[in-house]
Amino acid sequence: MSRRARWVVFWLGGLGVAVLFVLAVLRLPEFGGLVHPYRDLSVPAAMGRSSPNVVSSINFDQRALDTLGEETILLGSVVGAAALLRPSKDEKEQLAKEEGRVLEATKLLGYLLLPVTLILGADVVTHGHLTPGGGFQGGVVLATGLHLLYVAGSYRMLRRLRPVSWYEMAEAAGAGAFVVLGFVGLFLAGSFLANVLPWGTLGDLFSSGSVFALNVAVGAEVTSGVVVLLARFLAQALSVREVK
């Protein structure tokens, strides 16, 4: 289609969708209303299982199957991206001899922040059931924190300290742990992903049963998944070259 025809088709459709959408939005409940049926059900359910971060309780306990699916989408996306970014038949990994210079100030800050970021990431993962955060958020912090090695050091150093195949295994192990915890619930309580671990005392680190364990599993999966993903992109940008 010509550019003009495309726009005509789009505007005809877009106008209709916009009218429908506006009419629908006008009929939505008022902002800040007091009627929240799902909140009224899920907050007591979360508190009853010592999980003060209600969002985590919904994600990892009340609707844990959704989260298993979402985590699997991430796994599939990483594996898929890795498959698409693999070196093709006429490409090869080749490291450049010369790498750029890094400013001293960047180095200093990078090496100082590296342990801080990793500890922060681990903290966000392990306290997911208590405070905002959890395996997904903490996992991303951990994975990006690791790449301070690249920012402050060099690509060679990152490659040495980040063996991709280990992370691929850890990714599989993290995703597998979620499934295994699901099976534990099935065999102990007769229901897949049932929260069968001890719920503990509200506010303790080791409380809320499998919400804590699932957060750690997801944290491992997300960390390794993002590392693998970035590794593939970095390789495409820095070391994969066409060979004639």
Partner: protein, 594 residues
């Protein structure tokens, strides 16, 4: 064992298998990877067969994580014979794709196996869930893995382009679906289908419900490749590895229709007048069937031809489902099962041609297949089965569907569309394997040639037994669907359960046991056999006429309109997105005026 264990197991088994394959991939030989993946698929087939057997007595309802309905927060899975049937179909086709893959990707890494197993988990979850948000999650799982599988041949720009187009259009549709789920949540405060359905029925129809309906259906209609949401399908099928095409055509696209029907009946069944749903879906179905059949006849790229034939058949399934009667739904499902076997076998045979000749172009392969012992006889047989030759499952599904429409015009449409798709494939087969007709010579710039596709595997001497086995299993399966009466009977019971909205809500929410249902008429009838034979005869006629008079003359007569149709399928992702938005408006308008 408690039957309520089986639905979550259907999701968990492939996930566990995928994790094992991914963890082992770097350390074990290829054979171990193949075996682990195959065992996983076979175990899943076993679990889903058991589930299907249990659903005969009523739905199998599972509250995941033990969050029983009195908590009000959990996710419910509800398997009826149709949902369990689709889950089983997904597992069986995955097993066939894996057998075929055994030798197919000779340089493949374990990535393909992991992605195929995750894809299977997504399809099983999609079939079994009764939670609207969960449906969306599994829709996305199917999509994310499918994009990567489509673009797998990274050396080819066209392959990456096909995966990209598929990704953009499907994601766009899915975002609209998510927006619709958000609107429904704002109105009802619920995410489960029975819960939303109950809450909506108490409130009545208004602009918000209509908007939510159109938005939620958009993502599903894209998956189901209903016109004008269909553009991605042929581009993706043309470039995807052949075993992946079997899954796309056989079960993924029909699952889109399954989702449309599930959402329309369960979530919106209490507020949407049946006449409105019927009218909308019949119009969409007719458009899809006609566009698919016409484009199928115009193709010379064999995988594109089969892809457009899938679109045509999806249109027919939609017309049958639109009756919203037990016989229409049962007919559509039997048709889907039969079609999955036949179309899967046809795709794999084209895959064999591609592996042997490095080409899937009808013209370039002219006379090239005279010595192909396998495809020479099975490809024409598959083409006739595609047209609905009794006693194949396609024929039975078509017969039940035709009768359910209670309309002469729609029955004629079924006959003509199925004959056109079978005829197109037969024409190609007659040229390739028997060298009939003059050497085709066509200079039409519009048509995509099939010469640039990357050769998949190289087997100059003998086709590997694994490939032959996969083809045989699929074609036999397509036959058995029509021959074994229990299949159609089970789906007859399933269709009644599927449409029993009140029974569904009562069983899922309150544990009320399902009331027994009587069977419906799903056996072969004389008129069904006659119409199936008529389609097959017409397909033969189309095949022979097509060979002798060629595309050139037909095109000459219809040059201008066909040129427009071809140009619309431009491969430009912006065009596809524009049509998607226009399609949403059209669907909304259809719901209003019908």
């Amino acid at each position: 064992m408690d039957p309520s264990w089986l639905p979550p197991l259907g999701i968990a088994i492939p996930l566990a298998g995928a994790c094992v394959v991914l963890a082992l991939a770097k350390f074990v030989p290829r054979l171990v990877v193949d075996i682990v993946a195959m065992v996983t698929a076979v175990v899943a087939v076993g679990a889903m067969s058991m589930l299907l057997a249990f659903t005969a007595a009523g739905r199998v309802v599972t509250w995941v994580g033990g969050w029983t309905p009195d908590h009000g927060v959990g996710i419910v899975l509800a398997a009826d014979p149709i949902g369990a049937g689709f889950a089983l179909l997904a597992c069986v086709l995955t097993a066939c794709a894996l057998i075929y893959t055994w030798r197919y990707f000779d340089d493949a890494e374990a990535h393909v196996h992991v992605l195929i197993l995750l894809f299977m988990a997504g399809m099983v979850g999609f079939s079994l869930t009764a939670d609207l948000f969960d449906l969306f999650v599994f829709l996305e799982l199917m999509s994310a893995t499918a994009y990567a599988l489509t673009g797998h041949k990274i050396e080819e720009p066209r392959s990456v382009q096909g995966g990209f187009t598929f990704g953009v259009v499907t994601s766009l549709g899915a975002y609209f679906s998510l927006a619709g789920i958000g609107i429904l949540y704002a109105r009802t405060g619920q995410l489960g289908m029975p819960q939303i359905g109950t809450a909506l029925a108490g409130h009545g129809m208004d602009a918000l419900v209509l908007a939510a309906l159109v938005l939620v259906l958009t993502g599903l209609l894209v998956k189901a490749a209903v016109v004008p949401f269909h553009f991605w399908l042929a581009d993706a099928h043309a470039v995807a590895p052949t075993p992946v095409c079997v899954l796309f055509s056989g079960v993924m696209a029909p699952l889109g229709l399954y989702g449309v029907l599930r959402v329309t009946t369960t979530v919106f069944g209490g507020v949407l007048p049946a006449a409105s749903a019927h009218g909308t879906f019949v119009v969409l179905g007719i458009a899809t069937a006609v566009v698919g059949a016409v484009l199928c006849l115009m193709q010379r790229h064999l995988k594109r031809m089969l892809a457009y034939s899938t679109i045509a058949h999806l249109g027919l399934f939609l017309i049958a489902m639109a009756t919203l009667t037990a016989s229409g739904v049962a007919g559509a499902v039997v048709y889907v099962f039969g079609h999955a076997g036949v179309k899967g076998a046809l795709f794999l045979m084209v895959g064999v041609l591609l592996a042997r000749k490095g080409n899937v172009d009808e013209f370039a392969l002219f006379c090239e297949g005279r010595d192909e012992r396998l495809t020479k006889w099975l490809l024409p047989l598959g083409a006739l089965a595609l047209a609905g030759l009794p006693p194949f499952g396609t024929g039975l599904g078509k017969a039940i569907s035709e009768e359910s429409t209670e309309s002469v015009a729609l029955t004629a449409l079924f006959v003509l569309v199925s004959a056109a798709t079978g005829g197109a494939v037969l024409r190609a087969s007659l040229r390739i394997h028997f060298g009939l007709g003059p050497p085709p010579d066509d200079t039409d710039r519009d048509t995509t040639k099939g010469e640039g596709e990357e050769q998949e595997g190289r087997f100059p001497n003998r086709v590997p037994a694994t490939m032959v086995a996969a083809i045989a299993v699929l074609l036999t399966g397509g036959l058995l669907v029509g021959v074994v009466p229990q299949v159609a009977e089970a789906m007859g019971v399933g269709a009644q359960r599927f449409l029993d909205r009140n029974g569904f809500i009562a069983q899922a929410m309150h544990g009320v046991a399902a009331a027994p249902v009587g069977g419906i008429e799903t056996a072969w009838t004389w008129s069904g056999v006659a119409l199936g034979l008529l389609s097959a005869v017409l397909a033969v006629a189309i095949g022979f006429v097509g060979v002798h008079f060629g595309l050139g003359r037909l095109r000459g007569a219809l040059k201008a309109p066909l040129h427009v149709v071809h140009r619309l399928h431009s491969g430009h992702v912006g065009d596809y997105a524009a049509w998607l938005v226009l399609g949403m408006t059209a669907v909304g308008a259809l719901f209003v005026i019908t």
